[in-house]
């Protein structure tokens, strides 16, 4: 049991020291819509989504495909790390305005 935790601790330390190349993508929320609503990224790269909520009201960025959810207060930005991702299409949505807040990340081969 102790050994498991030591290994776990090492992996945390190692992975936080790693110098991974991270690609940054900005997505705005304007009038309960994601702009852009579709982004194309390369597979196999670490990705930082910078979500900028330009609306007054809070929104929740959620994606079942990416297994991420985060609340974004009005007039503020948050960062969400995803990836590296395999090629395909990963949809996300704004939980509080699902009719309009829909988007997807399309992952292409390098």
């Amino acid at each position: 049991m102790k050994r498991f935790f030591i290994i776990l601790l090492f992996s945390v330390l190692i992975s936080s020291c790693e110098d991974k190349e991270t690609l940054i993508y900005q997505i705005d929320i304007i009038n309960h819509q994601f702009t852009p609503s579709e982004i194309i990224v390369k597979s196999g790269k670490r990705i930082k989504l910078s979500i900028n909520n330009k609306d007054e009201t809070i929104e929740e960025f959620e994606s079942l495909d990416l297994n991420r959810e985060k609340l974004i207060p009005g007039k503020s930005s948050v960062n969400i790390y995803v990836g590296p991702l395999k090629p395909g299409s990963y949809s996300f949505f704004g939980e509080f305005n699902q009719e309009s807040a829909q988007g997807k990340i399309i992952v292409k081969e390098k």
Binding site: S16, T57, I58, N67, L71, P84, E99
Partner: protein
């Protein structure tokens, strides 16, 4: 108003099912209603505090305050559920092969019951904060208070009904299997919460080791379906779990079941 109903229902849905499981698994415990009430009150109060300070929370810890709070709450809940299962399981075994009776649990003291309050409070905080922020957002965007309250009430009533049906369904299981069912419902609940911890850490770019999904079972059962969502809450069903999620999930099951089923070398004589 309809969108309010659906959103509130979805948010409440998870709380409702979790509460049904907790209430079912603790139904024989003396005075548990008091501790459930304590958990509910603390949960709601803390949710409100966190909602008030939400901007600061979000910006804290390099902008990952939400993620670290979720990790913290999930860890506490995993520990409390594990403790509850193991403690109550041990009590049952120390005395006899039968279920713990009311008298036996009174004798063993009330210390473990606060764990129930903590489990309930932690569930409410995680989900409740979202609901409060959503309703606050609606209100400040000009939605009428009556529409909002009506929508919220209808949505939460449906969610509570669903939870109630889950509870009734669990009650149908015969007496013989209740201990087994109780322990394993809680074990899976604990493992489910544990398996979410690596997701929040990965979102915050911490511990990204073994972060790739191992498989994709959406062809078998989609996470978007109702059954998929219910299984998601009950056993942590995920169409594309990562290696680290699997480690957390299986370790939790292994840890609790080892402690629950291991036989003491010198059993206490009642």
């Amino acid at each position: 108003m309809f969108s309010t109903v659906t959103i509130i229902f979805r948010e409440f849905f998870e709380i409702s099912i979790i509460l049904s499981v907790i209430l079912f698994t603790t139904k024989n415990i003396f005075e548990r209603n008091l501790y459930v009430a304590i958990g509910l009150v603390f949960g709601v109060t803390f949710s409100i505090f966190l909602a008030l300070g939400f901007h600061h929370l979000t910006n804290s810890l390099n902008g990952f305050g939400q993620e670290f709070l979720d990790v913290f709450i999930l860890t506490i809940a995993v520990l409390m559920v594990s403790y509850t299962v193991i403690f109550i399981g041990k009590q049952s075994k120390d005395f006899s092969k039968n279920l713990s009776t009311t008298a036996e649990l009174i004798n063993s003291g009330k210390k473990p019951l606060i764990a129930i309050s903590i489990i309930i409070a932690s569930t409410l905080i995680r989900e409740g904060m979202e609901i409060i922020l959503f309703l606050n957002g609606l209100y400040s965007s000009g939605v009428s208070l009556t529409n909002m309250i009506n929508g919220a009430l209808i949505g939460s009533i449906f969610a509570i009904l669903l939870g109630y049906f889950v509870y009734l369904g669990l009650l149908k299981f015969t007496y013989k299997y209740v201990f087994f069912l109780t322990s394993w419902l809680l074990i899976f609940f604990s493992a489910t919460m544990a398996s979410k911890i690596p997701l929040y850490l990965a979102s915050a770019d911490v511990m990204t080791f073994l972060n790739d999904p191992l498989w994709n079972s959406s062809w078998l059962l989609s996470e978007h379906s109702i059954i998929g969502k219910i299984l998601g809450v009950l056993i942590g069903y995920d169409t594309d779990p990562t290696g680290m999620q699997l480690i957390f999930y299986l370790s939790t099951i292994a840890f609790i079941s080892y402690n629950l089923y291991s036989v003491k070398k010198n059993p206490k004589i009642a």
